[in-house]
Amino acid sequence: MNTDREGRILPRWEGAAPLDVVIGVMAFLAALALGASLVAERMAEGWRAGLAAGLTVQILPPAEGASPQWEKEADSVVAVLSTTGGIAKAQALSDADTRKLVEPWLGAGALVKELPLPRLVDATVAPGAAVDLPLLVRRLKQAAPDAIVDDHARWIQRLQRAADTVMWTSWGVLGLIALATAAAVTFATRAGLAANQDIVALLHQMGARASFIADAFEWHYLASALSASATGAAAAGVLFVAAGSLQVMGVEPVPFLPLLTLSPAELAWLVAVPACSGLIALATARLSVLAALGRIY
């Protein structure tokens, strides 16, 4: 219907360039927010999975120096854990390894060397397996009276709350930006329609059906919003790919924080931004034209 050969019913770019820029920028921000939300969700899942997949057994040092009995308890704990259902692997950390763990907070001075540290046994839970914790605690108490089991429940709870907060915050920000993008697309479409009001009136006067006019407008604004928002989303995609390239270029990632890069599957989600923008423009154009036609005789 609106081929170039026939001459388009609506002028292609008249007055639309600044609005296309607005749509493009909002789509860029929406795509960034969407990408950040995907990264945040992945990070939260990683935290949960990492903590839930393990448990730690501490064997507290005796009040006065190390004793042979205390040293043996670590081996007993490993033996108990190795025969516990759901535990894939159990390994006692050496004294040196334990001291390395506290080094970032307490340093490596002489004082730390004299500090009595517990022996740690790190156990990995098999994926999808459940460990009968009360039974394990009872067995460990018999094998090693000084052992304390830490199933990370306290940490998991806190981290889960933190992860949920990060995730919902990022989805909330995405929701707000999506709302602003939808408003920008709606505004741009309505402004375009207002600028072309005389064309609507003329076509109506010449006997064009409402559906013919609505079709002409909705396809026009769909194409316009699609091209502008696809440009914005593509720019955001390039940014995420570039963030991934930083590691390749030797920039070290920040500990505890994920890389702001997206996997190919996550990048594909960015297509949703122009798709939604296009649909909003299409629906706005159709409803606005039909409403405008309803107001004239």
């Binding site: 026939e6 001459g7 388009r8 019913i9 002028p11 292609r12 008249e14 003329l202 010449m206």
Partner: protein
């Protein structure tokens, strides 16, 4: 074809522009509508081509009472009317050819089907060399001829023209009147609003005149 009974029209709370207008256009008739500036000729035409509803009275078009007709019937009624607007109302982003072809596109015809007709008509109104020119590059007279070609291209049942020769010289005006007469001979009912009395003198058409909002028959159509 077209019947007005006691039609009145006012804009907002203003005075009535048209008062108790009663007349009918017979099928195949050729009528000139005259009157002083501001007499209400354009308003009367707007009622005829369904741009405005009357404030009171009855209008019947192609046998359809507009007061009781469904809105969904209006597009089909409008497609049977060709209108030459006083301000042309051409689409500036379309060429002369595409502007003229617009009513045919709205009727669902394909370019291959109407291309020859449109070119021939533009040739008839003296624009054979300006087929692809945009309205902005055309003179006032050329734009008026494109507007006339657009109004007649679909061979409407009713042609309404508001000052269709206001911007052209006498030769072109004569040529355009011949076009209207030719269309009339083919069965189109024609009504032309004009100030140009020389147009009336060259035809045998009926003349109705708007005086103080009332329509008065000044001259019957001559055989």
């Amino acid at each position: 074809m077209l019947r007005f009974e006691n039609v009145g029209m006012r804009y907002g709370a203003g005075a009535e522009v048209l008062r108790d207008v009663t007349f009918r256009l017979e099928p195949g008739s050729f009528t000139f509508l005259t009157g002083a500036s501001g007499a209400g000729k354009t308003t009367l035409l707007k009622l005829m081509f369904l741009q405005e509803p009357p404030t009171r009275g009855l209008i019947s078009l192609f046998g359809c009472d507009l007061a009781t007709a469904r809105r969904s019937q209006f597009p089909a009624l409008r497609r049977r009317i060709g209108v030459v607007f006083q301000d042309f109302r051409l689409l500036n982003h379309l060429s002369a050819f595409d502007n003229v072809a617009l009513p045919l596109r709205l009727a669902g015809r394909q370019r291959e089907d109407y291309s020859h007709d449109v070119e021939e008509l533009l040739g008839w109104v003296g624009l054979a060399e300006r087929l692809h020119a945009k309205p902005a590059t055309l003179s006032g007279g050329e734009q008026q001829r494109v507007a006339i070609a657009r109004a007649v291209v679909a061979r409407p049942d009713l042609l309404l023209a508001d000052e269709p020769t206001g911007n052209v010289d006498a030769d072109i005006a004569q040529r355009l009147v011949r076009l209207f007469e030719e269309l009339n001979r083919l069965g189109t009912t024609v009504l032309i609003a004009t100030h140009d009395r020389s147009l009336l003198d060259r035809t045998r058409a009926k003349e109705v005149r708007l005086v103080d909002g009332h329509l008065v028959e000044m001259r019957a159509q001559r055989p």
